[in-house]
């Protein structure tokens, strides 16, 4: 005991990490997400075929050893397309959420800390955005910006950002009511220092949880936009657009729908498990 006295104590972050590593479902989610990330990064090397290469000699072939996920209506290898499709989906998910965080968190912090009319204006705008169904708003924005994966990401980022505005505002309001925030003021901290050095680190855990869960939502949104032709443009592969072209052959060639659908399902589930695990690990009221 006395030997460990001089050592640094266990930080709240490290304690959460220890709890997180013991969380089975979260670790399962993490492993699955990591596999998808690896697949996306290594797609050019691990994909058995060129995802764009068509062939008249192998249209809509059922899964076989040569083509484990079968081939599509243009004779392209579905496995290769699912692997490359992971790039569009994960990138859209992560970039859109990062964008939403970058827009939403500072705005929410300002609203929660400035209070008064600044808060009123920001809150009404974000309330108005939240009153429009998320996907409808994303579709409208994407249609307005024009069909492209980048525009879909921007549309999703903007549509999700009010969630982060609200969360950051609420947490900032809660934080300003705490003794440690008042203590920071009493010590002579200027408002920006309280916001950045005290409030932000304390609201990071819920933001991390919300961010992880939002990635799952953004992936579904990207797939939906691509399904509607507003996201990734053909012939580049995307799970959403693959599902779209699969619907014409749903009875004749169900593998065309099953594999991209399964990919969406599994990766979204994994992000949700990861987010729930993070929530459990970061909740100070949690056990252990």
């Amino acid at each position: 005991m006395s030997a460990s006295l001089a050592e640094a104590g266990e930080s709240p972050g490290r304690r959460a990490l220890r709890r997180f590593l013991r969380h089975r479902l979260a670790m399962f989610g993490l492993v699955v997400v990591s596999l998808f990330v690896l697949a996306a990064l290594l797609a050019p090397w691990i994909a058995p075929y060129d995802p764009l290469e068509t062939s008249w000699s192998r249209l809509r072939q059922a899964p076989s050893w040569a083509h484990p996920f079968g081939t599509d209506e243009n004779g392209r290898d579905v496995l290769s397309r699912v692997l490359f499709g992971a790039r569009a989906s994960l990138m859209a998910g992560v970039v859109a959420v990062l964008g939403a965080v970058v827009i939403g968190v500072p705005v929410g912090l300002v609203a929660g800390l400035a209070k008064g009319w600044v808060d009123a204006v920001i809150s009404r705008i974000s309330d108005a955005m939240l009153s429009i169904p998320f996907l409808i708003l994303a579709i409208a924005l994407a249609a307005f910006l024009g069909p492209a994966l980048e525009n879909a990401m921007i549309a999703i980022a903007i549509s999700i950002s009010p969630v982060f505005v609200r969360l950051a505002r609420g947490m900032a309001l809660e934080a300003t009511g705490t003794d440690w925030a008042e203590a920071a003021r009493a010590l002579g901290n200027p408002p920006w220092r309280i916001a950045v050095l005290h409030v932000l680190p304390n609201i990071l855990p819920p933001l991390l949880v919300q961010g992880t869960l939002a990635i799952a939502e953004a992936i579904i949104a990207e797939a939906s936009l691509s399904f509607l032709g507003l996201g990734q443009q053909p012939p580049a592969p995307s799970w959403g657009s693959m599902l779209n072209s699969a619907q014409r052959f749903i009875e004749a060639a169900p593998w065309l729908a099953i594999f991209p659908g399964l990919a969406i399902f599994v990766v979204v589930l994994a992000f949700n498990l990861l987010g729930d695990g993070l929530r459990d690990a970061l909740d100070p009221r949690g056990s252990r």
């Binding site: 640094a8 930080s11 440690w180 008042e182 002579g188 220092r193």
Partner: protein, 343 residues
């Protein structure tokens, strides 16, 4: 001799709003308080919970803005200062909170927390670490603990850390808002002794906000008794404890454990600060109340020992107080444990 801190006629009401945001009344937390504290003096502000003493403490530091009244610190008008000038002045006046589990940022190490006032005010540049170690040993903690996190400490240790943080910028004035009342009884005595020692050694000016007269008796030079947002009695600690002039003060003193009296004098709850009683605010609970008390509000009256009671000169003599026994409760507790363990 001029006062280090002087407040005159401080008022702070918190509006109560209905669902539409219209004010439909106000909690009159602090309702016209004048107060001063001399350099090197320990002033205690005592009263029941809900009497507005914590609000008063924050008003005195201008952590919340008063609705009206004046506030001077070292002769300077605190209310006239700009936000940035006020932040610079905070170096000279610090606050210790009641709840040691809430007042330390959970995401800052002890070292970062204590060094923060140094960084903010540019003190001990380049040797913040040594200063933190110095402060930790000053409050009775090992300097090796500097890199630990608040959640690794007990309540008493955290309060010592909070005290070290308050001392870091070498303030002139420290306000302690119930600094020991959230602690275990056995730890309370240690922290009170620590504070008393620091006040003496460093020549601090200290305003102790407390409902615990045992603690107050031990450290205060002067006492102000607060009831429903007003000061009802104020005077040198010795005089006030020996000869309380306000019935409310008497009731509080009678309720101190170890006085061998039943705390039966105070009946009923403290009235709502939204609608304080007419006339003397204490008349609803005062055993000596006369019809006149309901009508006319008494002013603080007297030279050095002042009380706000119409009949302060005609009250029956107060029962004598027993000698101060700082560790009475500790001993009481100890005897309780002894009884439990010896067969």
């Amino acid at each position: 001799m001029t006062a280090l801190l002087e407040a005159k006629g401080l008022v702070r009401h918190f509006p109560i709003r209905d669902a539409l945001g219209r004010a439909k009344g106000a909690v009159r937390a602090v309702d016209g308080v004048s107060l001063f504290v001399y350099r090197g003096e320990v002033l205690a502000v005592v009263g029941e919970s809900g009497c507005g003493k914590s609000t008063l403490g924050r008003l005195l530091l201008r952590l919340i803005e008063p609705d009206s009244g004046t506030l001077h610190f070292e002769g300077e008008d605190l209310r006239a200062l700009s936000a940035s000038a006020l932040r610079k002045r905070r170096r000279r006046m610090q606050l210790i909170f009641q709840d040691p589990f809430g007042s330390l940022d959970p995401r800052m190490t002890v070292e970062a927390a204590i060094a923060e006032p140094l960084k903010l005010h540019g003190l001990h540049k380049g040797r913040e670490r040594e200063r933190v170690a110095e402060l930790l040993s000053r409050v009775g903690l090992r300097p090796e603990l500097a890199r630990r996190w608040p959640h690794e400490f007990s309540g008493g240790q955290r309060q010592r850390i909070a005290i070290a943080r308050a001392l870091a910028s070498e303030p002139e004035l420290i306000i302690g808002d119930e600094p020991v009342s959230a602690l275990d009884v056995s730890v309370q005595a240690q922290v009170v002794n620590l504070l008393a020692g620091l006040i003496k050694e460093l020549g601090l000016t200290f305003i102790l906000i407390s409902h615990d007269l045992g603690v107050v008796r031990q450290v205060a030079d002067r006492v102000a008794v607060m009831y429903l947002g007003k000061i009802v009695e104020e005077g040198a600690a010795e005089a006030l404890f020996r000869n309380p002039r306000h019935p409310y003060t008497r009731a509080l003193l009678a309720a101190v454990p170890g006085q061998g009296q039943k705390p039966a004098m105070l009946e009923g709850d403290i009235p709502s600060p939204v609608a304080p009683p007419s006339g003397c605010r204490f008349h609803t609970r005062c055993p000596f109340a006369q019809p006149y008390c309901r009508e006319v509000e008494p002013e603080l009256d007297g030279l050095t020992h002042r009380a706000a009671c119409h009949f302060q000169d005609s009250l029956p003599p107060a029962p004598p107080l027993r000698e101060a026994e700082p560790d009475a409760r500790l001993r009481h507790l100890q005897s309780f444990f002894d009884r439990e363990t010896t067969p």
